[in-house]
Structure formats: C-alpha cells, structure tokens
C-alpha cells in the first residue's frame, strides 16, 4: 500500500486540532497536529509532510510569521491558511506562496479542494 500522505495542522484552537484530523483521515490522509508555530518548528520531520494547514492568529508566532520563517529556512511546504478573522485572509499571503486561504467555518469541499491543490503543487 502506498504510504499515506501526511497533512500537518497548526492551530491553537483545540476544537480544530480534534475535528480536522478526523475529517482528513476519513479522506485517507494521515495528520500531524501542532498547537503552535513554535511547536511545528521543533518538528524534525517536517519535510515528510505533504502540506500544512496553518491558523493565522495564534499567541506567540502567527501563521504568516511561520510562513516567512519557513521561506527563510528554505523549507518549501505548501500552506493552506485558515482563519476565523475574515480580514486576515490577505491576498499577500497567496503572493507569498500560500496555496489557499480558508475562512472558518469552511466546508468539507473547500478544505478538500485546497488540500488537493496543495498536494498537487509538489
């Protein structure tokens, strides 16, 4: 069997960290969750991940800051931003290389579409 594609999830909201993996797994993806950007940066096997679902507003390092840090570290990983703040979904994030920006709450279809686009970028 082909090795499962692992999708990373970074969100300080526990509800997201619980529900999103269940949904992604029902589509056959593996998931790896992180409660903060700092926690993700500690993760050694980040390159194993097919893509990253990243919350924008978090205490400490924000989603976009993490994006900048990854660019700086030349770790190229497709990012799907999610945010409960509609205003956060700035076009600049896409310009910076993000695959998509989803406003919470988002539909199953939107999520799947965005993840598939991200994985397609590889």
């Amino acid at each position: 069997m082909e090795k499962k594609i692992i999708v990373g999830v970074v969100d300080d909201d526990e509800s997201v960290r619980e529900s999103l993996p269940d949904l992604l797994e029902s589509f056959g993806y593996g998931t790896k969750v992180f409660a903060s950007a700092e926690e993700f940066l500690q993760f050694e096997e980040a390159k194993e991940l097919g893509c990253l679902i990243l919350d924008i507003a978090m205490p400490g390092m924000s989603g976009p800051e993490l994006q900048q840090e990854l660019i700086r570290q030349k770790r190229d990983i497709p990012i799907v931003f999610i945010s409960a703040h509609a205003a956060d979904l700035l076009p600049t994030l896409i310009e910076q290389g993000a695959v998509a920006c989803l406003a919470k709450p988002f539909s199953e279809e939107d999520l799947l579409g965005a993840v598939r686009s991200a994985l397609a970028r590889n």
Binding site: D12, S15, V16, S19, D22, L23, H85, K104, F106, E108
Partner: protein
C-alpha cells in the same frame, strides 16, 4: 456754802453769782435760772456773756477788767435776755471776796433789775412798744398790716433784706420786692384776710433782696385780736426757705429727669432738660453737657440750650486736646477743672477758647467729668458764668447731683444704642439665615417628641407647604409623607421616641401635589435629659434628585455608547470567537457523516465527533450569551457580584482579541472573597475598557513580550483589581488627564473610556487610579469596597441607583 445762806441768797431780789480768779463761774443763784430759763450747770459752763445783749458785752468785759486791776467794786448797766427772749436792763455790781479762799471764789456779783430806771427814757415798758421792739429783734421779716390791709410796721430784718426804707415799702405789693408772678397771690390772700379774717394762712413766694436776687420765703399771715376778740391788725411773718425750696426744686428736677430716662426719651432731649433745670435752680449759670465718644476720643454734641449754637457746634467731633480748655482737660484727667478767669489762665495760653468764651460774654467755666459706672469718662458737664470766680455751694451741690443723672442718662443711651445695634445685627443675621435657608433649601427645626411641639424655620413651612399660622403636629406631617416612604418615617418616629438620632431620605406629597425629595437629619439636644427633644435640619433635595436621575440616565446612555463602541472594536475578535466553534461544528459534522457513510460505518468514532459538535455548539452559544449581556442597555441594579466570575467572562470575550494582538495574558486572581456590591455589567465594562486599553498600549511593542497581567487582592476592606501592561506607559504629569473625557493618548478612539470607568467605580464607592510602572507600561487599579463595607454605604447613594 451753807443751806441757810443759800436760801437767803435765793430770796434776794437780784441775780447773784460768784467767780474765781480767772473768770470762771463757780455759783449762780436760783434767780439766774428762773430769769434766763437756763440751768445752773449751763450757766457755769457757758458763762454769763452769751445771755447779755451783744452791745453790752464789751461793757461787761471792761467791768471785769477794772475789777481785776484795782480789786475794787465796779458797776455797769447790762441788758440780760429773759427766758422769753426779751432783754431787760440790769445793774451789774462786782465785789472781791478775799475772805473766802477755801471756796476758790474771788468775786461776787449782783445784778439788780433796773428797767424802771430806763423806762422813763424809752417808754419801753408800754405794751405796744414792747411788741415792736420784740418784732424788731426777731430774726424773721415781720410786717404789720392794719385791718384794712395797709402796711403799719416793717421790722429791721425786713428793711435790711430789701435794702429799702419803711416809706419805700409802704405800698407793699408795688414796691418791687415781690416776684411779679407772685403778686396776684399776695394780693388775693391779703384781700381774703381783710374780708373775713381767714384765708390761706401759709404761702410761699419769691422776694427780691437788696442784691437783686429773688429768694424763696414762706409767709404766715395771722390776725391779731384785742381782749374783745376784734381784729386789730394782721401780722405777716416771713422766713427764708430758699435753700429748702431749691432742694425741693432739685428733687423735682431730679425726679423729672429720671422719669425721662426711664421713659427712654432721646438723650439730647434729656440732657437739654438737665441743663435747663440747673440753670433754673441756680440763676446766672449757663450749662452744657458734652459727650466723649468711646471710639475715637472726640467730643460729641450733648446739650447747651443757653449757649450759642455756633459755640456748641465747635465741640461736636472735636478731638480732645487738654490744652484747649477746661472741658478737654477735665475729660483728659478725669478731674473737675475750674477756670475762673479764662483770659489769664496759663493752661490755655495758646488756645482760641478763652477768646471765644469771652466773646459770648462768659467769664468763668467750671468743667466736671461725667464718669460711667465702670469709671470711664463718658462726658463733661460745664457750668459757665458771666462773673469770674469760684462756684457757689449751691452750684457745687447741684453739679454733684446732676453729674450722676447725666452719667445715668448717657450710659443708658449708650446701652440703648448698643442694644439697638445688637438687635439690628440679630435681625440682619436672622434675615441672612432665612435667606440662606431659602437659598440652600434647608430648613431647621426643633421637635419635642412627647409634647408634639415643633419649632420651624420659615423654610420648613415652605417645604411642607403649611401655613405659618397653622399649628404643626406630627399627624399633619405624616399626612404629607409619600405612602411608599411612610414605613421608613414611622420607623424614624419610633426611634426618635426612644431618643435615637435619625437621618432619612423620604418624599413629601404636599398640598400642591408636587412630589418633593427631602433629606432630614436630627440630633437629640443633650441638655434636655427628661424627654427626647431633637434639633435638626431638613433639606429639599428634589432638584438634586432630579439632576442626579437625569445624570444617571445620561451616564448610563454614555456608558452604553462606550460599551457598544468598545464591543465594536471587538467585532472581529468576537466573530473569531464564534467562528472558531462554528468551524469545529462543521468539521466535526462533516467527519461524522463520512464516518457513518464508511463501509462498515465507524459508529464509535462518529459518536465522538457528534459529541464534539454539541460541545462546540454550546461554546458558540456561550459567546452569544455574553455578548447579549454586554450589549443590553439594562437599567443599573446593585447586587452582589463575584468579581472573579465577572472578570473571567470578560477575559473569555476578549481572549481572541489578545491572541490576535499576541498579548500574553497572565492571571493572578488572589482575593479570597471577591464579592463586591455593584452592577455586574458596569463593572465588566470597566474591566473590558482596561483590557482593551492595555492591549492597545502594547500594539507597538516588538522588543519584549506583550504581557498583560490581571490581578486581584484584598486590602483593608477593599478589593483591588489591577490591569498591568508592558506598553509605553505615560508621563506622570498626564496621569490625571487620562481620566478627562476626550483626552486620549491614542490616535483613534474618543477617550471616553477611562472617564466613564472612573465614574462607574466611584459610583460603587471605589477609586480608579493609574500609575506608571517602574520598567515598562502602566498599571490601572480599581479599589472597590468589599461587600461588608459596601452595605454600610450612604443609603442616599443606593436609593439613587435603585430608582434610576
């Protein structure tokens, strides 16, 4: 001497005596005593000379002298006064008695009656002549009138007094000796006597003496009848009663003046009358009274009815200079000053006074200080005369008496003026008090609970709208109390009956129906111990109440606006707060459906996701609930509030805002009993304001963690809630301005937040303060009374809120 010899001597028809060598009388016989009416003892002590006619005394002394020189018998004629006052001629003979040395007597004298010898020469023995001689010798004025009223005889005393001859006085009533005012009286009396021998026997009148002065005399008119009872003449006897009369006058004047004092007649009038009285009793004197002002040591006009006005005016307001004249000197040294010859008096050598006084024809001035009962000189009495010289005894007596009256009058006037001043001041003060009470809408009262007696100030009647003449009773008062407040007022009555002080806010519904808010305060009067009597104040606080209510409404509206504004800034965060659980719900529901659709369905996993859906749904609902509470413009209501709960709710609502601003929240809610009395929403609004401000303050901080610290702790019946940020802080000078409405350090925002927050905290009996931290940022601290302290809060404040 032997008794036998004594009897012989007493039997001899003469006055016999013995004398010792130095002239002392050693013995007089009984004849001496019988004739003179004097006792032997008196005669021995006073000697014989006083009984002899004054004209004959020199002859007697010459006889004694001659007897002493040649020790021979000498003889001389001497008149001796009989017991009835008549003098009779005696021949005095003196013989030496050398043979009786043991008795100490040196001379023996015999005076034998010799009128017979004289009678021939003077016909003095005729009854008529004896009467006239008797009349002439009396020390009183005697005038005989014949039965028709014509003058028959005037004695020597009268002639001497009037300085006129008998012929000049013959036309008695027109001789110019009777005071013109008394002439009719004299004529009437005489006429009445002539008519029927009766009439007023005694009368008084003024008679002019040879010196021109009238003196008072008392005159007795008696009929003289012969053996047959026919009136042969009228005898008028006058004795001078001038001193008596003057004393009487003085007394009358004194009584009259004192009566005027008692009637509180004007000072100027009484002093004027006083001067006139002295001038009347002592003709020739001119009087004045000057007052000495207590304030500035100057003279003030008193009275001087007989002095020229121009002279009196000089003294009114004149500074008292002892070198000016006797009055000034008397006022200065508090002693009577006599200037008997002003023009030559060195004491006023440089003064204009002597010339002034001479110019109005006066040549002496006697000034006497008028002294108050406390010893202060309050005036000067002056007695001027046209003649130079000393005051007479009468004048001294008059002045002595009237000075006292003057002192009394002036003191009384000063006391009256003082009383008047005090009374006016009191009236002014009272008017002021009434005005003040009107202005401050504060009434005062005393209330005797048991006796139901009320003493009210004017303002009280106005407040209750009672008529000022209607009696005030507690029943009447109770009828005007707002029914809702009646229980409180009745409780107050109960306490007052037990003597407890009271304070109460209540409403009055007076006759006009216009509801008034009143605030009463009563304190028991301590010195009335047998029953409770209160004094107190009652204030009409209606206007304040209405203003307060309007202010509270405005404040609540503003607070609501501020809250909406604050929540507006939170909209994004709140959306986040709601979107977060919504996101969970949708994701979970999607997962659930997929898990159920799998083959085989993963029912257990689906159940977990369904539970998560419910959980997230509740979470969203909580957010909405909080929001609804904060957005409601509910009326303020004080209740017990758990401050920690309230703070936690606000923190939950603003958690996302903090997160999106990357603020690290630290919470240290250390208070054990975080219960305060207050309005939960208002308090939450304050906390929200403080949090938003703290978040705002740290927006530009990039070099250090944006730590926001929320703490509570207890301290001395207070609960302290602090919100500390790590922002830029502020200059200490601007700390107080932070609380000004519309002051802001931020580019955006109205700045109403802190001003409203402070008002809210103060309405909760607390304080809101700001302080810069030692390193970075600022700390805002609310100090709120804990629940125990809060229950003791001013009841007025609470009512204000419950009724708002």
């Amino acid at each position: 001497m032997e008794n036998g010899l004594n009897r012989v001597i007493d039997a001899l028809p003469g006055l016999i005596w013995t004398m010792d060598a130095d002239g002392g009388i050693s013995f007089v016989n009984n004849r001496w005593q019988d004739y003179t009416g004097q006792s032997g003892e008196t005669l021995r002590q006073t000697g014989l000379e006083p009984l002899m006619h004054p004209e004959d005394r020199a002859g007697y002394r010459r006889m004694l002298q001659a007897a002493a020189e040649n020790s021979d018998t000498t003889e001389t004629e001497i008149r001796v006064r009989r017991a009835d006052g008549e003098y009779r001629w005696f021949v005095f003979r003196l013989a030496s008695i050398d043979d009786a040395p043991e008795s100490g007597a040196r001379w023996c004298g015999i005076a034998s009656f010799s009128d017979e010898k004289r009678a021939g020469a003077e016909d003095g023995n005729a009854p008529e002549q004896r009467l006239l001689r008797f009349a002439n010798n009396l020390p009183a004025q005697i005038v005989f009138f014949d039965p028709e009223g014509a003058v028959e005889f005037i004695n020597n005393e009268a002639l001497a007094y009037y300085g006129k001859s008998f012929d000049e006085l013959r036309d008695w009533t027109n001789a110019g000796v009777i005071h013109p005012d008394d002439i009719p009286q004299v004529q009437q009396r005489l006429a009445a006597f002539v008519a029927d021998g009766k009439g007023g026997q005694v009368a008084t009148g003024r008679m002019r003496g040879h010196d021109g002065a009238f003196r008072w005399f008392r005159s007795t008119l008696l009929p003289s009848v012969d053996a047959g009872g026919n009136i042969v003449r009228f005898i008028s006897i006058r004795t001078e009663i001038d001193d008596f009369r003057k004393a009487e006058h003085l007394l009358t004047a004194e009584v009259e003046l004192l009566r005027m004092v008692a009637q509180a007649r004007p000072l100027a009038f009484v002093l004027d009358q006083l001067c006139r009285a002295v001038e009347e009793i002592s003709p020739g004197s001119i009087c004045s009274v000057l007052r000495v002002s207590r304030e500035d040591s100057r003279f003030r006009a008193g009275a001087g009815p007989s002095l020229p006005d121009s002279y009196n005016r000089i003294f009114d307001g004149k500074p008292i200079d002892p070198g000016y004249g006797p009055c000034s000197l008397a006022a200065t040294c508090n002693e009577p000053i006599l200037s008997s010859d002003p023009l030559r008096d060195v004491r006023w050598a440089g003064s204009s006074w002597p010339g002034l006084i001479a110019s109005i024809g006066l040549n002496s001035c006697w000034s006497i200080p008028i002294v108050s009962s406390s010893g202060r000189v309050i005036g000067v009495f002056a007695l001027y005369k046209e003649t130079s010289g000393e005051p007479t005894a009468l004048e001294r007596q008059l002045v002595d008496r009237f000075i006292n009256i003057a002192s009394l009058v002036i003191e009384r006037a000063e006391a009256d003026a003082e009383l008047q001043r005090t009374s006016e001041e009191l009236q002014r003060a009272n008017r002021f008090l009434v005005d003040t009470q009107r202005l401050t809408l504060t009434a005062s009262f005393t209330w005797d609970v048991e006796r139901n007696e009320h003493i009210w100030s004017k303002e009280n009647y106005r407040l209750f709208e009672f008529g000022e003449d209607a009696p005030v009773t507690i029943e009447g008062i109770l009828q005007t109390i707002h029914p809702d407040d009646l229980p409180d007022v009745e409780a107050l009555l109960g306490n007052a009956t037990n003597g407890k002080d009271f304070e109460l806010a209540f409403r009055i519904v007076p006759a006009s129906g216009r509801i008034k808010h009143a605030h009463v305060l009563g304190t028991r009067i301590e010195h009335i111990t047998d029953r409770p009597v209160f004094m107190g104040a009652i204030q009409d606080v209606t206007a304040r109440k209405l203003t307060e209510e309007a202010l509270n409404r405005a404040r609540a509206d503003l607070a609501y606006m501020a809250r909406v504004t604050a929540l507006g800034t939170l909209t994004a965060s709140i959306a986040h707060e709601v979107n977060q659980p919504l996101s969970g719900i949708i994701t979970n529901a999607s997962a659930c459906l997929r898990l159920l659709a799998a083959d085989p369905p993963e029912v257990e996993k689906a159940r977990v996701t369904a539970q998560r859906t419910i959980r997230d749904g509740n979470r969203a609902s909580e957010v909405i609930k909080r929001l609804r509470a904060m957005f409601t413009n509910a009326p303020t209501a004080f209740q017990s509030v758990d401050l920690h709960d309230a703070v936690q709710e606000v923190l939950a609502l603003s958690a996302s805002e903090m997160r999106s601003n990357r603020v690290l929240l630290r919470i240290d809610l250390a208070a054990d009993r975080p219960i305060v009395r207050g309005d939960r929403v208002q308090l939450q609004q304050v906390v929200l304001n403080l949090l938003l401000n703290a978040i705002d303050a740290m927006r530009e901080v990039h070099d250090r963690p944006r730590i926001l610290l929320v703490t509570t702790r207890e301290e001395a019946e207070s609960l302290l809630l602090s919100v500390r940020d790590e922002g830029a802080g502020f200059a200490d000078a601007s700390v107080e301005r932070l609380f000004d409405p519309f002051y802001t350090t931020k580019a955006k925002g109205m700045g109403v937040g802190l001003a409203i927050s402070r008002t809210i905290i103060e309405n909760h009996g607390g304080r809101l303060n700001a302080a810069s931290n030692a390193d970075h940022g600022a700390t805002l601290t609310c100090r709120l009374p804990t629940i125990d302290a809060a229950t003791d809060e001013d009841p007025m404040n609470e009512t204000a809120y419950t009724k708002a």
